[in-house]
């Protein structure tokens, strides 16, 4: 605990209209660690993730990533950061239905300005690494849910991000497929040194993490950092 965390949030507050979603959440993430964010539904897990990833600007609180104040960055700058430093896996509905799986995986690279050929070649490598190389030319509608989530993981990892944000990545999968996705996600992120923020309500999924924090009523019990 001597090193400064990669991502650190203190006192995050966010309300949607009159509904408070976060009320003073503290969180810290070291480089390369896998942290599970647990808590009952409606507790503010996803909102915490959205704030941490710079998708949503918190109403109050500080948020530092790699020495930079995320809350002070413009929308454009945060978008750029998400493209280069972060990767995302959601529960469903994240793959562009018209693009082939390889094109979907190549998308973040292309958004970063890479050439199509090179980007798609890298995408295919990642698909192979996540054991879904046979889906490269298929569209998301033509593959199974488990395969789709692995494609999504490949897409999150393809830019070699430093943090992956995964919001219920196995939420729509059965145990076996969920487990496979989690195994591949954690292995690949460990190999690349990416940290993972894993939002889940399932203990067996959280068990793939290094440690967990619990969100309850918009505040975070971080058993390690609170001490």
């Amino acid at each position: 605990m001597t090193t400064e965390p990669l991502l650190r949030a203190t006192g995050l507050t966010k309300a949607y209209g009159a509904t408070p979603a976060l009320s003073g959440a503290d969180f810290a993430l070291r480089a390369g660690e896998v942290v599970a964010v647990m808590g009952p539904s409606g507790s503010g897990k996803s909102t915490l993730l959205h704030c941490l990833a710079g998708i949503v600007r918190p109403d109050a609180g500080t948020l530092a990533y790699d020495g930079r104040d995320l809350t002070a960055l413009s929308d454009t700058a945060r978008s750029a950061l998400r493209r280069t430093d972060f990767g995302f896996v959601f529960q469903f509905g994240q793959l562009v239905p018209e693009l082939s799986c390889a094109e979907n995986v190549a998308l973040p690279l292309r958004l970063n300005g890479e050439k199509r050929k090179a980007a798609e070649a890298r995408a295919v490598e990642w698909l192979a690494r996540l054991e879904v190389d046979d889906t490269a030319d298929k569209r998301p509608g033509e593959i199974s849910g488990g395969q789709g989530q692995r494609v999504a993981v490949a897409r999150a990892l393809v830019t070699a991000p430093r943090v992956i944000f995964a919001d219920e990545p196995t939420g729509a999968l059965d145990s076996l497929n969920g487990e496979r996705v989690m195994r591949l996600l954690t292995e690949a992120s460990r190999d690349t040194g990416a940290a993972v923020v894993l939002v889940t309500h399932e203990a067996r999924v959280a068990a793939w993490s290094d440690r967990e924090v619990v969100v309850r009523d918009g505040s975070v019990r971080d058993t390690e950092w609170a001490a």
Partner: protein, 782 residues
């Protein structure tokens, strides 16, 4: 399948449409709004002929009846003089009257004859005169406002019109003497070309509206699919489900009919308030053609059912969801081409078969052929879009997103765009017809506005007065150039010769060198010079040179008055060194001929019954200069006619056809844009989650905005390309039909411009929703 099961299922569907929760109701209302908009437009379009006709009827009813001449004044006769003018670009008309007895009738819309020096004005003119804007016009009309002209005396509520009691009218400056108002209603049949135009215009305008209605019946399709699947789950069979779906559309369409009728009734109230291309009508004149209205009432509901069933044919509604054939059925080319060919086959026999004099054309063949060609083009579109899109690849991310989406389901986009194809192809064909006909109907004027912009001719008692008139008009503020001559006639002196009914006569124009140069090509000119202007060979608006030279020859003597009349005849000897020159068209497009004399060569006071011929040009920086010139001319002579020169001037009948088409095609384009917009918005809403997740991993707003643009631009672009090709083809065939040649191959440019505008408008209008959806809210599942 009994009719009762149909009835039951359709009713059930209709019930779902109205009571199926908020989203179902919203969809129904959207459809109703779309259909209603279309229906209102159809009703308005079907009222257009009666509206234009009513304007003519009104025009005829208020004109003095000049059907037969009345020689002598009677207690019930009056002198009349009609003035047409314009004020700051708006048309203005006036009727000057001078009753010749107490029983002289008053024109329609007036309660009684105004006193001398007074006038009745239309409400619009009254308002204008009372406002500061009307100050200049007030100077022009030297009459006191004494009352208002009622609806019966006007052709539109916004018309600028006055009826004045003008004491100065005489049999020398009048239009005629009459005892009543009202020509018989004109039934002058349209000539074949105009008829052709009207037929094509109607087909072109109404097809897109039908396409739009068909599109509107499918609004909210994807949401409905889910509901249909649920119906299957509770045990409805496939046929029942389809009929229920049709019932839902039917409810929307029926509601749309009501909305449309309502919209129509409301919008006709605005017929008076809105003025599009000078057309402005009384609400009571906007009455739909009964047969057309009934057709609309019958076709719309039936079409909604048919379209829905047709649209669902490639779809399997399963209990667990709607499955579109995994590999969409390959679009076949042959039947699409077949329709086109059938249309061409119908049109082919009429090629070269229409003559200007014809008043009846083969409406069925031409209308039917045009419909088939346009429908064929529409049918060709999905195939073409698919074929084009399949070959697109590469490009930036935004392009890739758009292209892939189109590759997966180009049908939706093609359907929305098909309206554009019909409208654009039709508009192009019409434009080509116009271009060709504009020559026949308008180019005869041949005005040259670079040389002069207003022209007037004022009678003068003598040469001095004519001179003063020219000077006065020249001194008006803002006039930069004046072409002014004092004109009179000269005659060959001496008694009539054998075989002559009158003495040979020609024109004499006296002016400065600059003015004379506008009438003829002068090699050189100095004050004192005289020229004999002879028309170029083939000029049809001037007598031939031998006739002119009977009078106007260098060294010859000419009479300045008609030698037939009694009294002394002043004469003038043409200088022997007068040169023969070739006449040129003056700015009004006419050939001047005869004697052209510089002011130093002839004393204008000798001239008999001269007139001042003046043409002026203005400083573009003084927009009121034309009004000041008109005021000055009317101050000199209240019956003066000041003509604005314009490069083109159409026959009024031609104008009204063209006006109708312009009005209609503008509304049609708006319709198409509206349906495209709805389709785009719907699609965006369906992908709320996806958009949010794209934003999460850092997709730029611009990337997605461009993608929306491409997604709209590609089908519209293909559609326009098809429309340009088809439109030019159709236009060429129609021109060939009337034996004319294409005037301008570039007529499609404005249409393409409109298309580009549509792309921009649809994209811009969908951006706010896109940006709203791109906020992270879409990711929230809790």
């Amino acid at each position: 399948m009994t009719p009762s099961t149909w009835g039951r299922d359709l009713t059930l569907g209709a019930r779902f449409a109205l009571t199926g929760g908020r989203s179902g109701l919203l969809r129904t209302l959207l459809t109703a709004a779309g259909v209603g908009f279309g229906v209102a437009l159809l009703l308005l379009a079907s009222s257009l002929p009666s509206m234009l006709f009513q304007r003519e009827v009104r025009e005829a009813a208020r004109a003095a009846d000049a059907a037969h001449e009345i020689e002598a004044p009677r207690p019930d006769t009056f002198l009349h003089y009609t003035q047409h003018s314009s004020y700051r670009g708006t048309a203005l008309s006036g009727l000057l009257l001078k009753p010749e007895g107490p029983k002289a009738p008053t024109p329609p819309g007036t309660a009684g004859m105004p006193a001398e020096g007074e006038m009745l004005v239309s409400p619009a003119l009254g308002r204008l005169l009372d406002s500061p804007d009307g100050a200049l016009l007030k100077e022009r009309l030297p009459y006191e406002v004494a009352g208002t002209i009622g609806e019966a005396g006007l052709i539109g509520p916004n018309e600028l019109r006055y009826v004045a009691h003008a004491g100065f009218l005489t049999t020398d400056n009048y239009d005629g003497r009459a005892e009543r108002y009202g020509w018989s209603v004109p039934e002058e049949p349209m000539n074949a070309f105009l008829l052709l135009l009207v037929v094509i215009a109607y087909v072109v305008l109404l097809l897109p509206v039908l396409v739009f209605i068909a599109t509107a019946a499918r609004f909210g399709g994807e949401q409905r699919d889910r509901r249909l699947a649920a119906l299957r789950l509770v045990g409805a069979d496939n046929g029942t489900t389809r009929r229920i779906a049709a019932g839902e559309s039917l409810a929307g369409a029926l509601l749309g009919l009501v909305v449309g009728a309502g919209l129509f009734l409301v919008s006709r109230q605005f017929a008076g308030a809105v003025e599009i291309w000078d057309v402005n009508a009384f609400p009571s004149d906007v009455v739909p053609h009964a047969a057309l209205a009934l057709l609309v009432l019958a076709v719309v509901p039936v079409a909604s059912v048919v379209v829905t069933l047709f649209a669902l044919r490639g779809v399997a509604i399963e209990p667990l969801g709607v499955v579109r054939a995994a590999t969409p059925r390959r679009r076949r080319l042959w039947w699409r081409v077949l329709i086109l060919a059938a249309g061409a086959a119908l049109l082919a026999p009429t090629v070269g078969g229409i003559r200007m004099e014809d008043t009846a054309i083969d409406t069925v063949a031409i209308g039917g052929g045009t419909v088939l060609v346009l429908v064929g083009l529409t049918g060709l579109l999905p195939w073409l879009v698919e074929a084009v899109v399949k070959r697109l690849r590469g490009g930036p991310v935004s392009w890739q997103l758009a292209v892939r989406r189109l590759q997966l389901s180009s049908g939706t986009a093609a359907r929305a765009v098909s309206g554009i194809v019909v409208a654009a192809a039709g508009a192009i064909a019409l434009q080509m017809l116009f271009q060709a006909m504009e020559r026949d109907f308008t180019s005869l004027t041949g005005h040259d506005t670079t040389r002069a912009q207003l022209q007037t001719s004022l009678d003068a008692r003598d040469g001095d007065e004519a001179r003063r008139t020219i000077d006065r008009l020249a001194s008006v503020d803002g006039v930069t150039r004046v072409i002014g001559t004092t004109d009179a006639h000269v005659f060959r002196p001496g008694p009539l010769r054998e075989g002559e009914d009158f003495a040979p006569i020609t024109q004499l124009s006296v002016g400065d060198c600059a003015s004379l140069r506008e009438y003829a090509v002068l090699p050189s000119c100095a004050d004192g010079d005289v020229f004999v202007a002879l028309p170029p060979k083939g000029a049809t608006d001037a007598p031939d040179a031998t006739w002119i030279e009977q009078t106007a020859r260098p060294g010859a003597e000419v009479a300045l008055r008609d030698p037939d009349r009694r009294g002394t005849v002043p004469t003038w000897r043409i200088p022997a060194d007068a040169r023969k020159v070739e006449a040129r068209r003056d700015p009004a497009g006419l050939h001047r001929y005869g004697l052209l004399a510089t002011t130093g060569s002839l004393d204008v006071r000798q001239l008999d019954d001269p007139s001042a011929e003046v043409m002026v040009r203005f400083d573009p920086a003084s927009p009121d200069a034309p009004e000041l010139v008109r005021n000055a001319a009317l101050a000199i002579d209240p019956t003066a006619t000041v003509r604005g020169l314009s490069d083109t001037e159409q026959s009024s009948r031609f104008l009204s056809v063209r006006t109708g088409i312009l009005v209609g095609s503008t509304l049609t384009m708006l319709l198409v844009a509206a349906s495209l917009l709805v389709a785009t918005l719907e699609q965006l809403r369906d992908r709320k989650r996806l958009l949010s997740s794209l934003v999460a991993f850092g997709t730029r707003r611009t990337t997605l905005s461009w993608s929306v643009l491409w997604q709209t631009a590609v089908p519209i672009g293909v559609g326009l390309a098809l429309a340009v090709a088809g439109g030019i083809g159709l236009g060429s065939v129609l021109l060939a039909m009337t034996g004319q040649r294409v005037q301008d191959w570039w007529v499609f440019l404005p249409v393409v411009g409109v298309g580009a505008g549509l792309i921009a408008a649809v994209t811009l209008l969908s951006l706010p929703l896109l940006w709203r959806l791109m906020r992270a809210d879409g990711l929230r599942t809790e």
